[in-house]
Symmetry: C2
Subunit: 350 residues, 2 copies
């Protein structure tokens, strides 16, 4: 679990005070900030002290192990070590911050740690400040990274942030399409978690609450307001807690193949896939289509048109490698249910 | 926040494995176990190693600072220090374990730390295993203690458990009346939090979920089953999270006076008070009375009959000292609303 959680409008203003006890002499706090904020007001509100540094992170693509390694090396070269790494942005920026924080103290490449419980050393102090709601990256014990051979996170007890600051004011200016795709990441998490075989009362309670909040935002409301930001930020947190104690399912397993091959961003990829999963999640997909229509969102079609057999095979391999996701969705006999042929047919529809 | 949370039926069986990395050479794990379990099967399942020790804690009365100090001194005399303190029981046992864990490293008396952020040193490793659901003590940053001059907790960032094990199997054999009173602690938390002025979306989400789970257990179901244990344990957790980010209200403020003077246990005291709070929480009290009736529970009446003026004054002083509770319930002008006379009249009804 994340040790310290602050939630509230304007809580970003407490960041200087929050970081103060974690500062070490001569070692900077490093703020990894989504490049979307370069030149925007939020960047000017970052409480810089001494040799603190802002790095605007290019998250046009999701984080790669090479990017993590390069950032950690740059900080080691410049400062030796740092007091902490603070991620300010969406899921990619937060995952990048967690991974760089870990690689400040763990030897080798971040690619060496893609898997479960391979990280053996605590990283430096890490804080996360989401500016988009939905991924659950603020509470997860992973950092999803694309490496030389796989898209897989550094899952470990050392991965979660030490502190998160949940300030719904920060999500108010997000572009509507992006905000929808990321919000749907949460909605899809919940459907996958609540219909999965790994469910228990803990993950169910969180999943149901997150789902209800998503519905209030995307189904019941007629427009976007401050209350939408409040609710979706809480939905993201609860959705992340739900999957931490269960697992995601078909949409995520298929979407990982897309992002590995085509670089499709996670939220968007989930939407593209979930849109075609009526056989697996009939009620969820029906409601999803309603939300897409009601919120005037465009879901790209035919993104797999023209791909080669080799391309499809790559995506199928990545997807079928996500064993726990398939087992959660389809049960222990999942390999009999989702064949390579079925999966190919699904990718061809996207 | 509690750093490590396990939830699941049978998860108590993982306790040996969970504690292993926290053992220090020659220093025991000390299990503070509710005396209710003395001679019962659960006591035999505690994973004792080396010089580990079980202490059956007498929680006929709620924890006192003198009891905390005496237990900590006993452990220092016998072992010098300990690897950790594990509380197994209801809210009293868990609060006792947290307080003893803190007093293994902090000088003086636990009475010196009754208040907010007075604890300056991390305690020893602390784990909590609830066997009754409802108090939220498993997630709180306080330990409610009766001291020489006040009933007030050691509220601090060092107070929460490092680990909790939420195993709903452990609550199956609790006596029905006690289980109800403790469950209602959660229900009352939620009503107080959700109608309070301190509410935000974070505490609201948790409060609503906990309230819904309480209703499923006490209103919708026709009998007690394993699912009741699952849901009430999750309700307790969520209810505790809700008040951690908001505050309780009138029932708790009045009930603290009862327990200070008469030693009335917290869950029961809350029920006795809430039963008469229709002016403050009309809908909640109506539903509470329905649950009392449906579950064939006896709420004691006239417990304040025959008390002296001095007794009433003591209770009124303790109650009015709980300023944040009154402010949450009645707003900034609470002192104009709840006069000593009104409070005396309320106590006389109990």
């Amino acid at each position: 679990m994340v040790g310290y959680v602050i939630y509230g409008r304007g809580s970003f203003n407490q960041l200087d005070e929050i970081l103060a006890p974690h500062r070490k002499p001569n070692l900077p706090m490093v703020f990894l900030v989504d490049h979307f904020f370069d030149g925007k007001a939020l960047a000017g509100r970052v409480p810089l002290r001494g040799n603190d540094k802002i790095i605007f992170a290019d998250v046009s693509y999701e984080p790669k192990t090479t990017q993590v390694d390069q950032l950690a090396q740059q900080l080691k070269d410049e400062f030796g070590s740092v007091s902490g790494v603070i991620g300010i942005g969406g899921g990619s920026t937060m995952d990048l911050a967690k991974a760089v924080g870990l690689m400040m103290t763990n030897p080798g490449s971040s690619a060496d740690y893609q898997g479960w419980d391979l990280v053996k050393q605590a990283g430096v102090y890490k804080a996360g400040i989401p500016t988009l709601s939905g991924t659950g990256a603020e509470v997860s014990r992973t950092t999803v990274l694309t490496g030389p051979t796989k898209k897989l996170g550094m899952n470990s007890d050392f991965t979660p942030f030490d502190q998160i600051v949940l300030d719904p004011e920060l999500t108010a200016d997000a572009p509507a399409n992006q905000r929808f795709y990321t919000g749907m990441d949460c909605y899809i998490h919940c459907i996958e978690s609540l219909t999965g075989t790994y469910l228990n009362e803990f993950s169910k309670s969180y999943g149901e609450k997150a789902l209800q909040l998503c519905r209030e935002v995307y189904v019941n409301k007629t427009g976007w307001d401050a209350d939408s930001d409040d609710k979706l930020m809480m939905a993201s947190y609860a959705g992340g807690m739900s999957i931490a104690y269960s697992q995601v399912g078909v949409a995520h397993a298929v979407s990982y193949g897309l992002s590995y091959l085509l670089g499709t961003k996670h939220g968007l990829g989930n939407c593209i896939v979930f849109d075609k999963l009526q056989d697996y999640y009939p009620e969820g997909v029906k409601e999803f289509k309603l939300m897409v229509e009601k919120n005037n969102i465009n879901i790209p079609q035919h993104i797999c048109a023209g791909l080669s057999d080799e391309d499809f095979d790559k995506m199928i391999n990545v997807s079928l490698g996500m064993k726990p996701l398939w087992e959660n969705a389809l049960g222990k006999d999942w390999e009999k249910i989702i064949t390579r042929e079925k999966l190919r047919a699904l990718y061809e529809q996207l």
